[in-house]
Point group: C2
Chain length 210, copies 2
DNA sequence: ACGCAAAAGTGCAGTGACTGCAATAATGGG
DNA sequence: CCCATTATTGCAGTCACTGCACTTTTGCGT
């Protein structure tokens, strides 16, 4: 019986196996992609290397790139959302910080994390895909922006607010792509990314004024 | 015999056929996509509807979505590039205007153009793909931005200028996605798009300042 | 007009991503 | 320890896409 000399009493054997397997597959996928380049790697190769059936691979990750990008982006943490809604900086900056923290919070595995950074640095298309996939949560995030917007400026036309939120989202995503790539090429320290974000906002301000 | 009561003496029969065929295929593809939704349409369906072999389809368009998105974005016109380099507005705005004009210059066929607009409005993923594909010219466009940048501020660190240009490009692309979608939903008049762009720039300025 | 070389269109066979379905193998609770 | 639930797998099939070899079309010189 699993009588809990262990540290994770809440999770059963099933869950632990699933996590261990996921890690193993991601690791194998990243290793292969770093060695041969993404599009010289087949799903079958990944499966053979990680001792899993192709069918199960797709059950886990859905697409070939799934194992390279990691699990579908998690919903932002409650507290992070609260920070965003309460923050007093430029809205784009605060949103980018939210994106960055959510992203960082989802990669606890150091080694996989580092490999992913290296892969992104050498395969920009994959990185763009990652950003696109984060954007798949676009609807939810736009709603968040809208909420903060209407809380601050209750006297705003609804349609105008919606357009505004869309624009905030798009600009944040565009800038985030550049920032995250730069950060990935550089130190990769968690704290640094917010510095990069702040610098980017400064630049944008200069960009949109003659 | 095609003895030239025609109007285009410079282009041979070959070229004219190619263009006519391209139009026919694009029209068929758009019709099918609008009716059934993009991912319920197969390449074989398009080919059957436009009386072309699948192999030829891929020779023409490369990917399934190729016929929906139209020919790969053309290089910006010389004069438009000149305008961009000489313009005195905020650099992001000028860049977006360049993108818009280049885009508009490439769609002479009214009907196909209108269908594409409708399709983009109802399939956002496709529209994002379009913007991504425009970005495939990213390297060239970034170089353009860099050129204008160094002409204006010769005393700028090279690495900093490169980062700056990347950011300009990303922000412009992000904003352009929103603007073009809004424009597509609205009037679709060529002149209107620059108004939208200008308004977007104003908004961005407000966005990045508390 | 005619024939020939280059270019374009096509058929075919194959690869690889991805899905639905049905059979099989853990797993965890009673 | 058995059984219902859930996860893993094999299999067959669809679809996007590619390389290669073959046929047709076109442009051109004679």
């Amino acid at each position: 019986m699993p009588t809990s000399t262990s540290d994770a009493p809440a999770t059963g054997l099933r869950e632990r196996n699933r996590i261990r397997r996921t890690r193993r597959v991601e690791h194998a996928a990243l290793t292969l992609a770093l060695e041969h380049g993404v599009d010289h790697v087949t799903v079958d190769m990944i499966c053979e290397a990680s001792d899993i059936s192709p069918r199960t691979y797709f059950n886990y990750f859905g697409t070939k790139e799934g194992a390279l990008l990691g699990q579908p982006a998690p919903d932002p943490d409650e507290s992070l959302v609260g920070d965003f809604l309460a923050a007093h900086g430029p809205i784009v900056e605060d949103l980018m910080v939210l994106m960055a923290r959510t992203f960082l919070a989802s990669s606890p595995d150091r080694e996989v994390f580092a490999m992913r950074r290296r892969l992104f640095a050498q395969e920009p298309e994959l990185h763009a895909l990652q950003v696109t996939r984060v954007a798949h949560k676009r609807q939810a995030t736009v709603a968040l922006v809208l909420r903060r917007l209407t809380e601050r400026c209750p006297d705003l036309d609804a349609a105008a607010a919606r357009d505004h939120a869309q624009l905030v989202m798009s600009v944040a995503m565009g800038a985030f792509l550049v920032v995250s790539l730069k950060w990935a090429e550089g130190s990769g320290e968690h704290s640094d990314i917010e510095t990069y974000i702040h610098a980017a906002i400064d630049q944008i301000r200069r960009i949109v004024t003659p």
